[in-house]
Symmetry: C2
Subunit: 318 residues, 2 copies
Amino acid sequence: MADIQALIKFIKKEFNHSLKSYPLPKHPEYLYDPIRFALKGKGKRFRPTLVHLSGREFNTDPDTIMKVSLAVELLHCFTLIHDDIMDNDDVRRNMPTLYKKYDISSAILAGDGIFTISQLVLNSIGEKQKIILQLFNETVLEICEGQALDKYFESKRDISLKQYIEMVEKKTGALLGACCFLPAVLAGKSNNIIDGLKKVGKKVGIAFQIQDDLLEVFGEENIMGKSLGSDIFSNKKTVIAIEAKNSFKSDWEKIIGQFDGKNLVDIRNFMIERKLKDKVENLAESYFNSAYNTLLSLGLDKKSDLYKFLKIIQGRNS
Amino acid sequence: MADIQALIKFIKKEFNHSLKSYPLPKHPEYLYDPIRFALKGKGKRFRPTLVHLSGREFNTDPDTIMKVSLAVELLHCFTLIHDDIMDNDDVRRNMPTLYKKYDISSAILAGDGIFTISQLVLNSIGEKQKIILQLFNETVLEICEGQALDKYFESKRDISLKQYIEMVEKKTGALLGACCFLPAVLAGKSNNIIDGLKKVGKKVGIAFQIQDDLLEVFGEENIMGKSLGSDIFSNKKTVIAIEAKNSFKSDWEKIIGQFDGKNLVDIRNFMIERKLKDKVENLAESYFNSAYNTLLSLGLDKKSDLYKFLKIIQGRNS
């Protein structure tokens, strides 16, 4: 694992350098100060790393891959900024969210600006930019659909696990899928490989979101860089809430009714005692396993960087 | 003028048909219902009409022109949706604004979705889509900059006419400029023609915004399709407020202090008596004249449809 860790560190460093070098005007400050602040955030850069590792696997031109990775991270950043407004989230990565730091208008506008810059970056690749832009923007629409389902579910009493999976597949899986398959499109790989990589990314995305839901209850606040439990408190249809309600409806509603939005001890104990934590962890694992199997079926073995990186994602604690 | 009116009517009909035919999914309703509602609005379609007239002038492929006009109107629609949230505007074109009809989250998301669709439409043109997309997205950034200046000015006491012109040139002029010059780019015209058309559009955009500011005080509510005076009331730096303050500072501040946000009689009388209405109307006229002169210098005479259409815009009452 030492080599892959060094490689990821290298990619992250190169990526951050490239992002930082992107020429942003100073004027008007009302637009570009919030954009600069948003791009300064210390993200984990999972998505650009995926793009680079997939690009290395298929020997795609490194300059093009850097641009694709920039576009993908800018897109991710834009969706986070708008989602934080929609979800009233105050803190992200130990920093105030953009609309909290500035205001809602600045944050809407900064998101729009960052999304526009992602289009400009992607349009500047020297080859196949037409098909890449089409696939990229189809992915954006899918992300919007996922966020729409997430918001819609908030107003609903009962959401099934199937509905949840559809939502996170769009909201989180679509972009991870694009990170995996866009480099293969650039490399002119077969539809079989491209579709397979899309599936890998979607499965990882679903597992990733299930992990997120778990970390929102069982993570450590200082590592997570935000306060926990807010999704449960705001009646978000996390996989935890869905599974708990499915199996122990009245007990779960009682415990949620007593939840003050802060002290998670009772919820944690409930989840552990009723084996719900195990159940949800197993669900995430099954999606990771499915992703590994698909990857192996495409001819990428366990020694490939992509495979190793997915293992690292699976083991994350924030 | 009869011919041009019939032509505009024809273009508008064809355009509305094309917009209506764009295939939008049904599911999820949370995303696509607001998008459908927003696109149903009875817009004046000034921008797509400009694109079509410019396209006819340069014999650009009609199918491509239709796509460019769709992308431009979708972009305009997206900026209106987000601007209405930022400006707390409740009514537009006799309809509730999107965030009032639904909520802020739905409106942010619908705007993002419509903007994404505009990218997909523009990327689907068969030729020169790379340069067209670059110019389009540079225009979007300029519009964001204009809106940023507009928001920033709200918090400032004194804004000069020069600052106002910079703001509206970006906020309104940039897109009208793109409507005029994108068809010329597609037709492979010289940089001289393209730059000239950009100037024409920008000048018209500035004049258009000055008209808007005037109509916000002197228009008729039922024709305008919204309540008037809100820009004055919310301390927006309209050209009226700037010119009134420049020439009659204390009197203007007194009259604004007494303004209840509804009864515009005193403000109208003040503007007329102090010749401020004339002054602002002359300013709009000077920008229109400058646009006409530039158009003539490019070889388009007074019988051209583009020239005639600008004359129609100049004469609008809503």
